[in-house]
Amino acid sequence: MAVPTYASPLERIWHYAYLVICGLIFFFLIAPIVVIIPLSFNVEPYFTFTDRMLSFDPEGYSMRWYRSLLTFGMQNPNATGWAFWSDAWANANWIKAAKNSIIIGVFSTLLATVLGTLAALGLSRPEMPFRRLIMAILISPMIVPLIITATGMFFFYSNPCEMLGVVGLPTNCGRLAGTYLGVILAHATLGIPFVIITVTATLVGFDQSLNRAAASLGAGPRTTFFRVTMPLILPGVISGALFAFVTSFDEVVAVLFIAGPDQQTIPRQMWNGIREQISPAILAVATLLVIFSIALLTTVELLRRRSERIRGVTPR
């Protein structure tokens, strides 16, 4: 990206202007995420930098919003030591929300990943009939606006069996709205496109002759899958699973429509916090989530590199 030697002075000026413009756009992308991190340590309940913060006075910073996160919903926030932590674990709203988010995220990810990986294996076979149509259906949860999906799910999960009776399935079961199972199924549906996309992308470069080689050496289909195919596509499967997990971890519309008070997740708790009266404690949550996404991003990037290395795809 150097200026070519034949460039005219005007082109040189444009080149540097272009770099400045790119810098500004990068700033636009990243600044909103970075700026909330110092603000979350603000000692005052303001959403802007105070003079004390700008002069790097340690007095201007505090952990009070992180503490208020923990104590929100606790029965006795003034307890000390073990009593404090066990109270927080059992009662603090944000901790409950985090537990719910993790439970729902893990199970919906498992479901989406297992079903999605199997389907991606089928879809990448050359013999697969109606490939394009089925792919379009499986990806559609990502494309259909969430509000429409959530609206449909709202009716369906309120009375799943009556709804399924229309398509000829048994009609004796209860309501799924307001249960963990309901939210897990809904989130699995939303996570599936991500698993399909990442695993199919991994399988594009997959060398089918490896499978044939394994078969010619006497391995059965199961051995071939677990000893040859699986290790090769594992990075793709894991990053698909991470995408599905993040989707569930970040999802709020379906939760608003079908979850009950027991399934309060972190995004829903944030949504309530932002709608009612926004307190800087939200910034503390946001900061923790940013750190979480940095960790995820790093993992996905490492997986991508590993996948390229073992598949022998050299980065361009």
Partner: protein, 432 residues
Amino acid sequence: MANALDPHAAIATTASGLTGGALRTADGRPLVRALARSQKRARRRAFLLVLPLLAFVLITFVVPIGQMLQRSFYNDGFSANMPQLSQWFADHPRGTEPDEAAWAALAADLTASAEARTIGVVGTRINYDVPGTRSLFTSTGRQVRRGLEPPYRAALLDINDDWAEPRLWSAMREASRPVTGNFYLAALDRSRADDGSIQQVEPRQRVYVMLFMRTFWLSLLITAITFVLGFPIAHLLATLPMRRSNLLMILVLLPFWTSLLVRTTSWMVLLQQQGVINDILVWLGVIGGTGRLQMIYNQTGTIIAMTHILLPFMILPLYSVMRTINPSYVRAARSLGATSWTAFRRVYFPQTLPGLGAGALLVFILAVGYYITPALVGGSSGQLISNMIAMHMTDTLNWSMAAALAALLLAAVLLLYWVYDRMVGIDNLKLG
């Protein structure tokens, strides 16, 4: 020369001439049939792998949406609970004055419905068309349970004069058929007049068409802005050496991986009147301390936050296409005397079009359906059609209206999705 014992000759005859019978497998079956069978088996195996997921998605996603859409043209809240009056409407054409038989049917249905405690459902259904009538039904319901004496017209008017209202009767007529296109008419700001003709609603009630237009206009605007901002970034990333571009790529991927709510919250914090941006502007002296800009809870907030959230969806497809563009084409154009602008316009830019199409369609599709961000930072002027669907779902409980609006939005999105599939191919969708 051909000898019966010469294996080469035998193969030659069976393979070239169709006369000597078909090729056979080791166990003696014709090869064509064996091949067809094994291909069929392979197809079935591939399909069986996909089947569990396909069934899952059909049950938890396609069927629910289909049934939700059914509500947009089917609502039996009135007709199922008011059978006699519905029958009277079916027997008498539009414009007939309600006679005593009609009033008797109304009274009988009201009594039965009040007994069955479904009067609230009936009232809600009529309330969609004539706001404020739900309480008329429920309060009348309480009174008719004590018993009504004929003549019913006088008896009902005794309870409440509003029962004679012609608008109420025409709304009941419309509601007496469970299958109706009226919700779609309403979603297009139209309604049916007493004589059955279709007319526009009063100007101050025309909200939906305006909201659809706003949704499409804002999505278009946001797509354009993400293109303007995303193009230089994608170009820079694609032309830098891999090491440096990977480093800068993190700046694009971090927002992509950061929670939507976190990013929306950041913008709320930044754009507030007492927030960071206003503080900086005051400090710089651009605006006075009293003239702080209102950048949030209006369209500006929606545009800024959504642009930020959707920008990576433009950059990533553009980047992956630009990576594949051979730089020697531009150099060739320059060596043939093109200025850098001409080389860009005539040689480089046309090659980026597939990425541009993919990114623009993706951003537009996602923008059209956005709900969370406009709800939080949009105020009243930054709301999109999704917010209206949510309002009908949770506040007014007019689910049929929500479904009709959702159907129109869904139709638009699926059309774009189809275009995307034709142009880009969903298999080429990449993440990160």
